[in-house]
Amino acid sequence: MFHKRLETLLKTAVERQVVTFGAAEQLRDLAREQEKERGALTLASVFGWLGGSAVVIGLILLIASNWDGIADGVKLAGFLALLAGTHGAAFWLTKSGLPYERTAASFHFIGSGLFLAGIGLVAQIYHLNGRPPNALLLWFAAILPLAILLRSATISVMSLFAFMIWIHMEGAFRGSGLYMPDKFGPHLILELGIGAALIGFSGLLKKGEPRIAATLRGCGALLLFYSIYLLGFYRYYGPSDSWFGRIREGSAILPMSALGLGAIGLVLGGKFLSPESAWMRNRLLLLLGATLVLGAAVLGVEMGAIPTGPSLEFLEFGWARHHTLLEWLLTGIAWALWFVLGLWCVAWGARSDHKGYVNLGVLAVGAGIVTRFFDLMGSMAQTGTMFLVGGVVLLGTGFGMERWRRKIVKQMLAGKAVA
C-alpha cells in the first residue's frame, strides 16, 4: 500500500518538477531498502517466519507419514498445484511491485527444483525407470529457459548442476551414442572443459548480465580448481592402474566436445576477462589454454592414442606401485598448473582490489603445498614420523600463508589510502 502511494506521489512530483527523475529513483530505492530492513526485523515478521516454517514443516511431515494412503491422482494434483502455486507466488510478488525480489527469486528456485521432484513422482507412480539420464536432461531443458527469461543467477546454477549430472549419467549410460570409457579420467575432463567454457563465456555475459556472469565464472573456477586438483593424482587412476585401466570401450565425443567448448568459450569471451589488466588477462588465457592442452593429453592417454612410455616402480606404504613416465609427467604438469593458477588469483586479486581472489589464491597455494607433502612424502616415511612432520608442515604452511595474505591485503589497503 505504502509503495503504491509513494509511486503515485513520485510520479506527480516528477511531472510537476518538484523532484528530478534521478531523485525519484533514489527515493524508490531507499523505500525498498527500508522495507527490507523493516520486514526482516519486526517482531511480527519474526513470528511470521517461525509460524510459517512450523506450518510448512508440519504439512510436509503430515503428507510424508500418510504418503502411502494418498491416492495417486491426489498426489499428482497436489504436485501440479504446488508447482503452479510456487511460481505463481513469485510472479505475483514481482508483478505487485513489492520490494521482495529475493523472496520471488527463492520461490522460482524452489519451483525449478520441484520440476525434478515431479519427474520422480510420475516415475514412482507409474514405475518408470527406462532411461534415467533423460530425467536429468528433461529437468535441464525445463529450467534453462526460466533461467534465461527471469535472468536468474540461482536458476542458472541449478541448470548447470542439472546439465553436469546429465552429462555424466549420459556418458556412463551403456547404449547411449555419447557413452564414454567408464573411467574417472574421461569424466574429469568434462569438468575441466566445461569449467574453462564457463569462465570464457562469462566474459561475453559480463556487460549485459553481470550477476549471471559472475555466478557462472565462480562455478567455472570451482570446476576448474576441482579438476586440476584431482589431475594432480592422475598417476593413481591412469591406464597403468589395474582397476581403472582395464576397460577402454566407448567414444571420446563427450570429453572432446567439453574441451572444444572450453576452447570456443575462451576464444570468444577471453578478451572480456580481467579488463583491468591486459597483461594479467593474457597470462590467464595462457594458463587456461595450457589446462585444456593437459586435458586433451589426459584424454589421449585414456583413449590409448598417446603411448605412456616406460613403467616406473615406486614403493608406497611398503607396496610396489607402477606408474608410467607420461602419467608422472601429466601429474607434475597438473601440480604446476595448480600453483600457477593460485598465484595468478593472488596477483589479480591484489591488482584489481578483489580480496576474495587473494584469499582463494592463498588457500590454493597452501592446500597445494600440504597436499603435495602428503602425496609425495607421506608414503615414504614411517607412519609416526609422517604425522609429526605432516603436522609441522600443516602448521608452517598455515602460518606462512596467513602472513602472506595479510601482507598483500595490507598493501592493497595502503594503496587505497594513497589513492
Binding site: W67, D68, L76, F79, L80, L83, A84, H87, G88, F91, T94, K95, G111, F115, L116, A117, G118, G120, V122, A123, Q124, I125, Y126, H127, L128, N129, G130, R131, A142, P145, L146, L149, L150, R151, R174, G175, S176, Y179
Partner: protein, 163 residues
C-alpha cells in the same frame, strides 16, 4: 515480454506433467495384459523411496533368432513372450520387431546391457518398510503397448494384489 514468456513457460511445465501422467494412465488401460514370473529384491532410491528390483526370465540375454548374433550392450532387443498356461514365457529374442506372432504372443522392446536386458519394468515402488515377498510367490502383470513398450500394471503375491 520476458515476464509473460516466463509465465507461459511455467504453464507449459504444468501442462507437460498433466499430459505425461495422462499418457501413462492411458498406457495402463490399453494394450495386451500378460502375467509373467519374476524374482524380486528390495533396494532403495534416494529420490523415490523403496522399490522392488525385478528380474524376469527374459532378462537374460540370448542369441538373436533372426541373426544368430548375441546382443551387444546398448542394442535394442525384441523379446517374444508366448502363453504357457496362465503365464507368458520367453520364446526367443530378435534384433528387429518380429513379424507374424502366434496367437496371444506379444513382443516387448528392451535394451541389452552386458549381462542383462532392461525393459524399463525392473523397478516397482512400494511403501516404505514393505517386506520383500518370496520369489516363488511373486508374479507381475504387465501391460504391453502398441509400440512394444511394457509397463507394470500390478505385482501379485500368491495371486493377490501386492502390497
Amino acid at each position: 515480454m520476458r515476464f509473460k514468456l516466463a509465465m507461459a513457460w511455467v504453464a507449459v511445465q504444468v501442462l507437460f506433467f498433466a499430459g505425461w501422467a495422462a499418457t501413462e494412465q492411458r498406457r495402463l488401460s490399453s494394450g495386451s495384459s500378460i502375467l509373467v514370473r519374476t524374482a524380486p529384491v528390495d533396494p532403495r532410491d534416494l529420490l523415490r523411496g523403496q522399490y522392488l528390483n525385478l528380474s524376469y526370465e527374459f532378462s537374460r540375454p540370448q542369441p538373436f533368432i533372426d541373426t544368430g548374433a548375441s546382443p551387444e550392450p546398448g542394442q535394442d532387443v525384441w523379446a517374444v513372450l508366448t502363453p504357457a498356461g496362465e503365464f507368458h514365457v520367453p520364446r526367443g529374442m530378435f534384433s528387429r520387431r518380429p513379424e507374424g506372432l502366434g496367437p496371444r504372443e506379444v513382443a516387448i522392446l528392451g535394451r541389452a546391457d552386458r549381462w542383462r536386458v532392461f525393459y524399463g519394468i525392473e523397478e516397482y515402488f512400494v511403501p516404505e518398510g514393505s517386506e520383500t515377498p518370496a520369489q516363488s510367490d511373486t508374479t507381475v502383470r504387465l501391460r504391453i503397448g502398441k509400440d512394444g513398450a511394457p509397463r507394470i500394471e500390478a505385482v501379485l503375491v500368491r495371486g493377490t494384489l501386492w502390497p
